[in-house]
């Protein structure tokens, strides 16, 4: 029966009812994300064009903060330091995680795999603040590493391991190796062993199999691990603040410096925008494999 006045069929009525109900169900989550994520992020974008002058917030939009970013060497260096640390961390984490995930996926009896994997990522759950502090104790001149090297006679005086960029990278790599091990393992465990056999039957050597079959098929796992590593590491304040000794400050440290020492929210916002740009760039770099991984 057709409603002749409005021309709405029962099917369309039902479809509309369905759409309304679906939207209503999704609304709380969408509104929450809109109000407490999108709105604040837009506010940051807006504020980055404002200017803090003493205690005054100058709300005439302008590019002063961005100009300051390029004029003050501390900021530009912060960007390079951030990129350097994050790229090193991403590369090392993947390089360390891949062999571990590979050994777990291929050299350990299936029924023990989950156990070993769990064992390998358990410290992932250590308190994030405390983990960096623990590295400080490990790297100290009288810490475990230096004492071991000294007693083995490899070095004659303690190495300066903490309070530098290397320590920051190490602290990060420790955390993200565990994360990447998880994502890469999940890619590896989904590989069809028949592919491996087929390649071998066709005469491919072990290396060729890895390079031509295993690696390309596990790229989604690598890419999602690497992307997560990049996003979290580039925005982290705690690890460089505890382990870096205020040497070679990274963007998050500079952002926090604006927020907690100078109450210069506009400058902090501009730096945050630059931080977000880095993440967008990383996403574009990894997008090819990330979307394939999801499909």
């Amino acid at each position: 029966m057709t409603d002749t006045v409005t021309g709405v069929t029962p099917e369309r009525k039902a479809a509309r009812r369905q759409a309304v109900r679906g939207l209503a169900l999704a609304a709380p989550a969408a509104l929450w994300t809109f109000a407490f994520f999108l709105l604040p992020t837009l506010a940051i974008a807006l504020w980055s064009f404002f200017r803090q002058q003493g205690r005054e917030l100058v709300t005439v939009p302008g590019l002063d903060n961005y100009r300051r970013f390029f004029e003050q060497s501390a900021f530009v260096k912060g960007l390079w330091n951030s990129l350097e640390v994050t790229l090193l961390v991403t590369v090392f984490s993947v390089l360390l995680a891949y062999p571990l995930a590979w050994v777990i996926a291929t050299r350990i009896a299936p029924r023990f795999q989950r156990l070993v994997l769990m064992l390998a990522v358990l410290p992932f759950w250590t308190s994030y603040v405390v983990r960096s502090y623990a590295w400080l104790l490990v790297l100290a001149p009288n810490g475990v590493i230096n004492q071991t090297l000294l007693s083995l006679g490899f070095i004659s005086e303690p190495l300066k391991l903490s309070f530098n960029q290397g320590a920051t990278v190490l602290g990060f790599v420790h955390f993200f190796t565990m994360l990447c091990t998880l994502t890469i393992y999940s890619s590896l465990s989904r590989l069809d062993p028949k592919l491996h056999l087929a390649a071998a039957d066709l005469g491919a050597g072990a290396f060729a199999i890895f390079w031509r079959v295993t690696l390309p098929l596990t790229m989604p796992g690598i890419a999602s691990g690497a992307f997560l590593t990049f996003v979290v590491a580039v925005g982290d304040y705690v690890t460089p603040q505890i382990l870096g000794g205020n040497n070679q400050l990274v963007l998050p440290q500079l952002i926090l410096m604006q927020v907690i020492r100078r109450a210069d929210i506009p400058m902090a916002s501009a730096l945050s925008m630059i931080l977000m740009l880095l993440v967008v760039a990383a996403y574009l770099a990894a997008a090819r494999w990330l979307t394939r991984g999801r499909a």
């Binding site: 679906g22 940051i44 390998a120 250590t126 925005g235 998050p252």
Partner: protein
Amino acid sequence: MSAFLRSRLLGFADRTGALALTAGMLVFIYLPVATLVLFSFHSGRVPVPPFEGPTFDWYLKVLASDRVSGATLNSLMVGFGSSFVSTALAVLAAWGLARHRMPGRRVIEVLLYMPLAVSYLVIGLGLLLLFSTLGFGKSLWLVGIGHVVLNLPLAFVIIYAQIDREQARLEQAARDLGAGEVQVFFRITLPLLRIAILAAFVLSFTFSWDEFIVAFLLSGFDPTLPVVIWGMLRTGLDPQTNAAGTLVFLVSIIAAVLVELFLLGRRRR
């Protein structure tokens, strides 16, 4: 050398290599944790080697401290509260989006995924900016709101991935048998999703339990545990920090092991 011997040798090298690699990685992964835990039993005032002890004094001190116990309570409240809200919102959104044909679905999905790609620091800064502009003072409520922002996408991803077609057929069957939408939701959808829901809840909890920067920026006089530990790091060098850190670790791994044993292990079967 016979082919047999060669393959045996290779096999041996392979297994030793695998073992050495796993062992080496485990040492790397456990080194800081072991040091942390060891020095929580250190009897000296300064938690640096060489180790002296053991003593349980620092644990007693931490457990007796009003600041730490207050912060633990705050962390539990924020953790349970924000995980509950995140999971509930995620379930509704996942059901709405997966089971209803509607315009703008893709937009909502993207909106819900988006926070995953933005640093916690920026999210915290945005909330600080928003709330201070609106004139709200810092409080535990703001931390909770922030943690829902952080955990909602995660919970949504987990649950959305689990609402599969098979389940849709079961729901349709129930409808055909005369069940109303509410009945379908509570009798079919929720029970079928229970593992995903619990996984999302526990994961959200552990993330909130451990989250620092948002809590640091948004909490007032009621700091969460990571913020208090951060304060301890900055305001006094003693093994209490190690003891507090060890306790936090213990709570997190209990949650993680529970998920692993009861949820993920079960799903495989």
